[in-house]
Amino acid sequence: MDILSAFEILVKSMLFASAPLILTALGGVFSERSGVVNIGLEGLMVIGAFSAIIFNITFASTLGGATPWVALLVAMAIGGLFSLIHALASITFRADQVVSGVAINFLALGLSVFLVKAWYGAGQTPKIPVPMYYTNIPILSDIPVIGTIFFSNYLTSYVAIIIAFIAWFVLFKTPFGLRLRSVGEHPLAADTMGINVYRMRYIAVFISGILGGLGGAVYAQTITQDFSGTTITGQGFIALAAVIFGKWHPLGAMGAALFFGLAQSLAIIGSSFAFLQDVPNWILLAAPYILTILALAGFIGRADSPKANGIPYIKGKR
């Protein structure tokens, strides 16, 4: 294989595998920046994947080519609503946020597989009639050499990268973003300044649900194209790793997600590269997790979480 075609496969599979990770990780950044730990990203992806696949199968005949895109919107809405359970438990009921996140993962998987079995009589849905396809971006994809590599991919990959920049702008350049970050760093001070801590946290968790649902929907409609209990296995936790490896910064999380996406795709296609043939496959599969631990331990730059992350805010308590 010549270098150029190897490079093309790498870039394409990286963009392909990392789009859902980027979106979900951005959701995690919003939630954790507001002070709510979100272990439930995995469950939010499951709900998103489930909603998108069911919607796609049910409405493909009426909506035609627009189906997968409408399905993304539906998955975002349902993911957002589902995340409110986590918000209710961890913000209003002061539940341990980690425990609530674990419960979200259980509930998402249990509920979605339960409904699939009740509706389809099997543990797996049929293939979706209208999956997503590669899109050639006009003009740009006609550029020789780099055109097909960078501008002929799933549109969702570009959407994910654009949303990462929007998320950065919202979090760091708007008053809303400043308020959201302030309730995650020092909720008491924010409360004193007249910011409604509970409302900000609810909004942040809701956004994480929207983005997690979107991530799951993208994953299901581009990669698996059906839904079962094993559609989402660990992608939510890789996204969580990307949040931390990216130091709770939207663009950092995007970079980490791209990198982890690359590691994932290398694990699958790596055997076609001579220099990777001696690396055991499991190291590539486990690379995101190993690197995240190393990053946390301070070997790859210190990763410090938002100060009030994981602590329920109790009004009037100092």
Partner: protein, 347 residues
């Protein structure tokens, strides 16, 4: 209301609420909840075979619950039971296959290998927490997936010859018990349940009756006070994670040497480790509570297998019920609040 009574009432109410919510889910999706739960009970206790299966399922739940509970008591959250269980599983099978020894040496050695592997997997997050203040929740989650991929690699390329399963461990390293199998109409019940009950007793003795246990609990209550009193907080954090990991590794050895008798490639986690979090929470992080909660979850899990056969209800209903029980226990603040309100109202 006394805190002791509340400590019992909150889990009981949570379980009842979870079961009621499960019944509502069945009603809404067009099933008969009485038939559904009836099938579940028959599937768990219907005849001796099912009782054997239920007790067998309780075994790893006790270990997973003890693992999570032990770390909790030192103020640590071990979400890594899933991974510690997997490495314990494969280590015990590996030792079971690699040696040819008489049973009274071989079996203890294989079981202890499982505990040691789990302990090593628990040591890493414990060490990072003690030395570098890295949050153990994230590290244990990451360690889960490292374990999953490593174990799959070991099964495929090291222990077996590119197969999806290893060969079965020889009788000299097996926990299987012909006596228990005969007693329960040839279920997969094995001797592990006795080890699980013994582990629960050890858990209680270590935490409640030894100086080490006092220090561990003290660190869980207040790190600064413990340090001021002259305890080595860092050492206790590492120790707690190591013991917690050892319990989880033992749970894996039960699966590897007893239930299955071999190792195999996992596409995803078994879920026993995550369920262990629910077991520990529901059991209030004490030995007897863990046993009772493990019994409940074992019953639900095994009984669920009969639900689709007799009542058409998908087994996943039980996952929903378990998830809701976790929510209710975790949100105990609101249950306590309502209990107190009710009590005041009664006066």
């Amino acid at each position: 209301m006394s805190s002791r009574l509340q400590a019992i009432l909150v889990p009981v109410i949570s379980v009842l609420l979870g079961l009621i919510a499960g019944a509502i889910v069945m009603l809404v999706s067009g099933f008969n909840p009485i038939e559904g739960y009836g099938a579940l009970l028959r599937g768990a206790f219907g005849d001796t075979f099912y009782i054997g299966e239920t007790i067998r399922q309780i075994t790893p739940y006790i270990f997973a619950g003890l693992a999570v509970a032990f770390a909790f008591r030192t103020g640590l959250f071990n979400i890594g039971v899933e991974g510690q269980l997997l490495v314990g599983w494969i280590a015990s099978v590996w030792v079971g296959l690699a040696f040819d020894l008489p049973k009274f040496i071989h079996l203890p050695m294989a079981v202890l290998a499982g505990a040691a592997a789990g302990a090593i997997w628990g040591f890493v997050p414990g060490f990072l927490k003690a030395r570098l203040r890295v949050h153990e929740v994230i590290v244990t989650i990451m360690m889960n997936y490292i374990a999953l991929h490593l174990v799959n690699y070991l099964v495929r390329y090291v222990i077996s010859d590119e197969q999806n399963t290893t060969v079965a461990v020889p009788p000299s390293a097996s926990l299987k018990s012909p006596f228990l199998e005969n007693l329960t109409d040839f279920s997969t019940l094995h001797n592990g349940i006795f080890l699980a009950l013994a582990a629960a007793i050890i858990f209680w003795v270590v935490l409640e009756k030894t100086t080490t246990g006092f220090e561990l609990r003290s660190v869980g209550f207040n790190q600064h006070a413990s340090e001021y009193a002259g305890m080595n907080v860092n050492r206790n954090i590492v120790l707690s994670m190591v013991i917690s990991g050892a319990f989880a590794g033992l749970g894996g050895a039960m699966e590897g040497l007893g239930t299955f008798g071999y190792g195999f490639i996992h596409g995803a986690f078994s879920g026993v480790g995550f369920d262990g979090i629910a077991v520990a929470l529901l059991g209030g992080n004490v030995a007897i509570g863990v046993i009772l909660a493990a019994a409940l979850f074992g019953t639900l899990k095994v009984g669920a297998l009969n639900m689709p056969i007799e009542s058409g209800v998908p087994t996943e209903l039980v996952e929903i019920v378990i998830a809701l029980i976790i929510f209710f226990v975790a949100s105990s603040y609101i249950i306590r609040y309502l209990l107190n309100r009710y009590k005041k109202g009664a006066k």
